[in-house]
């Protein structure tokens, strides 16, 4: 009975993470559409949430990677508590970076949290460092933003060659229409890659509980539907502070740049999802946004803000790992039953409510987000 309660808590925590993932990341997805005025903020967020939901059903390759290739979980209560610790590490880091307006990476937070908690719980042998973390997470995570940067840069150069001599009015309108498509694809890509990470973690918990045999990997339908719903709801609630960072503080973009950046981000994420790479969608989208600006004019990019984002990226994996490991230790203080997860979950809920209240007191309303058009 105790392990069943822990499974319920882990699933609820995983879906909460998925919600915060949508809340934290999808602002990045819609920021370009909003900053170029391709869509009003509320429409963009609603549209993105629907396509995030749909994206979760596209494939299961990333879920398989997260469940099988990052850590090895034992089918016992320690394994369950490790999954719980990893999730809490990721959620805590997401909330901290959200509170301070830093576009971190939910994906790296999740991987970092899981690695930290499993490392403390099961030791280094339970971490698939080379083939899994390095080969399927870290190197693709390094390549993806650079690739998005190059693709967006090339795309905007080609676009300017094609439409450069046309009157700006119709062109801008045309690219705003295009952004409805590219923004939709980006939201679909986000849902595809990120919702699957939660599916993978819930499946890990089910393996740890013995509900699913380790040698018979499959993602139950209810896991797919619940993960899709959670990320879609998180997307809808949105994160306006990060919209501001991604949409106008990196560089002020025109509609063509927004279109190129979204298209590049979407193609890289979808291609990576197809082969099972759990990318950081935030890193990839940021790379595309910076690439579309740098190709036009290097000085158009506010490199200081881009540098701050890089620092947050670098911090995410170790910080989430430390919090994940620490959470596992705190949970173990209360034994291997459900008491630890219940107490830690209560603490997380209280902390989250506190941060939301503080944020609500400080945040500007959505309509106050500066919307800019044209390069500065």
């Amino acid at each position: 009975m105790g392990s069943e309660i822990i499974v319920v808590i882990v699933v609820a925590t995983a879906l909460t993470f998925d919600f915060t993932n949508g809340f934290h990341d999808t602002a990045n997805v819609v920021a370009t559409s909003i900053s170029t005025r391709a869509m009003p903020p509320k429409v963009a967020v609603g549209y993105a949430s629907i396509l995030n939901f749909a994206g979760a059903f596209v494939s299961l390759e990333v879920a398989a990677t997260v469940a099988n290739d990052v850590v090895e979980i034992q089918a016992n209560s320690i394994g369950l508590l490790a999954v719980f610790g990893g999730l809490v590490g990721a959620i805590a880091w997401n909330l901290i970076t959200w509170y301070f307006g830093l576009p971190s990476s939910s994906s790296h937070a999740l991987i970092g949290g899981m690695v930290g908690a499993v490392f403390v719980a099961e030791g280094p042998d339970a971490i698939f460092f080379q083939d899994g973390i390095l080969g399927k997470v870290m190197i693709p995570a390094l390549v993806a933003p650079l690739l998005a940067f190059v693709v967006a840069g090339l795309a905007i150069l080609v676009l300017y060659r094609i439409v450069g001599r046309m009157r700006p009015g119709p062109v801008t309108s045309g690219f705003r229409v295009g952004q409805v498509i590219s923004g939709g694809l980006l939201a679909l890509a986000h849902g595809t890659n990120d919702a699957q990470k939660t599916m993978g973690v819930i499946t890990l918990a089910l393996v740890a509980n013995g509900t699913i045999a380790a040698d018979n990997f499959h993602v139950p339908d209810w896991v797919v539907v619940s993960a899709a719903t959670a990320i879609a709801l998180g997307t809808y609630v949105g994160g306006w502070r990060i919209i501001k960072t991604m949409g106008s503080r990196i560089h002020k973009m025109d509609a063509a740049q927004g279109f190129a950046a979204q298209g590049a981000g979407a193609t890289v994420i979808l291609a990576a999802s197809h082969v099972g790479f759990p990318l950081s969608t935030t890193h990839t989208i940021s790379g595309a946004v910076i690439g579309s600006g740098a190709a036009k004019r290097l000085s158009a990019v506010r490199w200081g803000v881009a540098g701050n984002i890089v620092v947050a990226w670098v911090l995410t994996l170790p910080a989430a790992a430390v919090i994940g490991g620490f959470t596992f230790l705190v949970t173990r203080v209360f034994g291997t039953g459900a008491a630890g997860p219940i107490i830690v979950s209560t603490g997380i809920v209280i902390g989250t409510v506190f941060l939301f209240i503080r944020r609500a007191q400080q945040a500007a309303p959505p309509s106050a987000v500066p919307l800019t058009e044209g390069s500065s």
Partner: protein
């Protein structure tokens, strides 16, 4: 060590597909805009043959975008 732990086939697939689709679809949308906008302009100027050419360019660009998206989703959901 890196050479043996990275799935190069998968990584190279991501790279070439992203380059081809990202740049290709974006360029196709650019041609769709070019064709549709220019077709209206030259049509108003009475240059019918030129307008037809731009319509063809615009339709080809739009068709390429739609085909690429449909093809991509079919490939993604095919596994």
């Amino acid at each position: 060590m890196i050479a043996t732990i990275v799935d190069w086939d998968a990584l190279l697939q991501v790279i070439w597909v992203s380059l081809a689709a990202g740049v290709g679809v974006t360029a196709a949308w650019g041609f769709a805009l070019l064709g549709s906008t220019r077709a209206i302009e030259v049509g108003r100027a009475g240059r019918a043959a030129e307008a037809v050419l731009y319509v063809v360019i615009g339709v080809a660009g739009l068709a390429t975008v739609i085909a690429a998206i449909v093809f991509g989703i079919v490939i993604l959901t095919g596994d």
